[in-house]
Each structure stands twice: as structure tokens, then as C-alpha cells.
Symmetry: C2
Subunit: 93 residues, 2 copies
């Protein structure tokens, strides 16, 4: 199993737009082959900080996700809302 932690820090005032844009991304992604878990979390202490925690069967499924139409289309829009992003790909230790 592959775990992805993708943390985004948003530009001021972009939270609602980010939440609505990512709703479609979440719905479409959860239909993908090998997608075990795909959840968006909001930081309880610093406003505008969000993290996707994702679980995938293997790297091939994750790679296919990165190439999917919805990831590319929505990802391009979300990119405009972010100040920074930190992404790590993990396996169980």
C-alpha cells in the first residue's frame, strides 16, 4: 500500500473556492482503480492549511491518478489558489 500526504497552504481568502473545487476531485478520484482512501483534512490551528491523506493499492494506481483528466484539470485550477505545497509518498515503515 502507498500513502500520500499532500499538504497545501492557501492564499488568503481562497478556502471556500478550494473546498468547492476539490469536491469534484474527491468524488472522481474515489472511483479510480486502487484508490483505498482519499480524504481532505483541514488544519485545526492554522487557517488555510489543508492536507489530502491518500491510500493507494500500489504506485501504478497512483501514477494513473496523476495522469487522470480530472486530476490534471482540477489540479491546474487548485495550483492558482496555493501559496505552497508539500507532498510526500510513503510506505508502511
Amino acid at each position: 500500500m502507498i500513502i500520500v500526504v499532500a499538504k497545501s497552504i492557501l492564499k488568503e481568502g481562497k478556502t471556500e473556492e478550494f473546498k468547492s473545487l476539490t469536491r469534484e476531485l474527491i468524488d472522481e478520484t474515489r472511483k479510480e482503480k486502487g484508490c483505498i482512501e482519499y480524504v481532505l483534512y483541514e488544519d485545526t490551528e492554522s487557517a488555510g492549511t489543508f492536507t489530502f491523506i491518500e491510500k493507494w493499492e500500489d504506485m501504478d494506481c497512483l501514477e494513473a491518478h496523476f495522469q487522470s483528466e480530472h486530476f490534471k484539470r482540477i489540479g491546474a485550477k487548485v495550483k492558482e489558489l496555493r501559496k505552497s505545497r508539500d507532498i510526500n509518498i510513503y510506505k508502511e515503515a
Copy 2:
């Protein structure tokens, strides 16, 4: 539900010591009240980068964890092995 993402970047050559120290922390923590998930992940791309992804019933359970004997004891030792740590506490968006 409360999610914790606690990312550690270790000092050179401390990986095995970190893994063995955290094994007891994981075993003890999983017995705690309200601990839904407590898993250690290793970065697939950057050596020495590890992340705990934790799921807790609520903030009270997490606070009790921070005050537990094993967290304090083992946490103090693990601190010596780290170059840096980044911890975020999340709720579902």
C-alpha cells in the same frame, strides 16, 4: 475525529534506532482510549523521513496521549534523533 500528521526528518544514520524506539511507542499508544489508528510511514523517496499518521476519537484522547508516560519517555529519546519535525492536527474538511 482528529487526525495528526507528525513528520520527522532524522539525523544521518539514526533510522534503525528510530524504528526500534518507536515500536514500543506504537504498541503502547494503540492500547490508549480513543486511539483509532496510529501508524508509522517511511518516505519512499527521501531517506530518513518518517511520518506518523494518527486518528483519534477527539482532542481529549489526543491530549491524554501527549501526557502519557510512554509518549513522554520515548518522545524525549526520539527528539535526540531528529533534525526537524512538522506536526499538524486536522479535522475532516
